[in-house]
Symmetry: C2
Subunit: 272 residues, 2 copies
DNA sequence: TTGCTCCTCACGTCACGTGAGGTGGC
DNA sequence: TTGCTCCTCACGTCACGTGAGGTGGC
């Protein structure tokens, strides 16, 4: 018996923990897994036997696909909390996987349907109108919650004694997705007088000409809805028009009662 | 009407396709999506309207998580073939997701069980023995298939008139996983005479002392089996021993009839 | 002396994001 | 002239892999 080695070299430790030397040096430099001792003479990293447990835990979490930053946040928690943290993180991963899966279903539709559903494009002139609006920066995850602000807006309008003159709409001043956050503006057109209140603002939406396509409630679902946007853009391109304001969705149907295959919204681009 | 613009600038094209300028320049440099025209004066990229379809297709595939290299392989196929290619690729993604999910279940076990299952470590002396072996480099996906070679080995041994003297074993000369491929060696110990045949070889497995732990059939499943390896390694470390040959799995039970909770294999490290 | 392990740069991978510094058209 | 868009580097991100060039112990 050569005598108990209290320390393992990076190679031995790596083999036992199933980590490469490069990975171990990286974890060292990040402070995620620092060797118990470093030989002052030659700089050799020496790991204690009881560091194997932490190393194996890191390997497991990396195997799940967790980033080193997230691992660093969780690794020092007690087991129960660590598990809760991992579960919370995993729920997010599952969501991402689900949305990829539904994108695949959509792609199947696009590829096997061959010819994409026809969207009929119309144009119309819209006169100047006063609107009560609420504008906010929201990522796609918060978009549903933002739409729940609509009843509050409507209530303010009605309690002011003003009269709603058309359907509600949402104007997208910038892209909204996982990283981009609009801004998005909810609008109610009205006549009469409404006072601004908190985030609620009043402005004039200028007169303009717009191209739009009417879609069903089912077609409002992401990513299907993108086809409608693409169709209107395509029409503008083909006809040599330039969009000259942010695109908008106009919700003319009663969302609670409208059927999936009934017209529910217009996808609209102002143009010149 | 300003006249139909046949070409879109990179900014306009990017907005309509939902791609950044940086992404479009990258796709250009990769030859994945080359602008229809480049202004020779100022180097401006000009995209044709009908390039939007390809761009949107790339966006969809990137949204699924497909690499640009894979997209480049598939994008020029007819729709039906593209769809088949995407599906084949997606099956692989689903498998990966499934294995992550099962790793999570394993992690839950580790964290909530608290104390990891006890593994009892034994030692024994193994005399020198002749073995009929088949050695091959296999990635983890091919490991199951490799084990199916065992009956062939056994048949050769029996048809040579030699006598099997112990259980079959698999020696892991190197790690086996998604990227590493062993090698792995299947061994049958025997007495008598066997001629080498094709890939089948005969060699002497030297006498040695070994530490092992006996596990059930259920415990052989990945990643649970890693605990048994870790337990034997831990014992070697604690007792100041050095492993001095590749680890091996000894299958002493009849795999077809042994119950999930019955002893089925030894996880073994030769040591000095 | 040869082989093996360890060390520290430094560059490559992948799909971009983010300036930096400069040009061109309205 | 100001703003906007475009251009080409070049560096940063993330978690390493892969040499390059050198050292140290058996």
């Amino acid at each position: 018996m050569a005598g108990t080695n209290a320390y393992l070299t990076i190679g031995e430790f790596g083999r036992q923990a199933r980590l490469s030397g490069k990975a171990l040096r990286l974890y060292d430099s990040l402070g995620l897994l620092v060797p118990a001792r470093v030989d002052p003479g030659n700089g050799y990293r020496l790991y204690a036997l009881d560091q194997l447990a932490r190393a194996r835990r890191i390997v497991l979490l990396r195997g799940l696909g967790m980033s080193l930053a997230t691992i660093a946040e969780l690794i020092d928690l007690p087991d129960a909390d660590l598990y809760d943290g991992v579960r919370a993180w995993w729920r997010h991963e599952e969501h991402q996987h689900e949305s990829r899966r539904s994108l695949l279903a959509y792609l199947q539709n696009v590829l096997t349907e061959g010819t994409t559903t026809m969207y009929e494009i119309q144009t119309r002139d819209v006169p100047e109108q006063k609107v009560l609006t609420l504008q906010r920066r929201v990522l796609v995850d918060a978009l549903g919650g933002f739409f729940d602000e609509m009843p509050g807006l409507l209530k303010h309008l009605e309690s002011s004694g003003a009269e709603l003159t058309g359907p509600a709409m949402a104007i997208y001043h910038g892209p909204v997705n996982e990283e981009a956050d609009g801004p998005v503006e909810l609008c109610l057109p009205f006549i009469g007088t409404v006072e601004p209140l908190g985030e609620y603002a009043i402005r004039i939406e200028p007169a303009h000409r717009e191209a739009y396509t009417r879609i069903t409630k089912a077609q409002v679902a992401f990513p299907k809805i993108l086809e409608a946007y693409d169709a209107v853009q395509h029409w503008l391109n083909e006809n040599g028009h330039q969009m000259n304001a942010s695109p908008r969705e106009i919700y003319f149907a009663d969302w609670a009662t409208v059927g999936d295959d009934e017209p529910a919204a217009d996808i609209t681009y102002p143009f010149s």
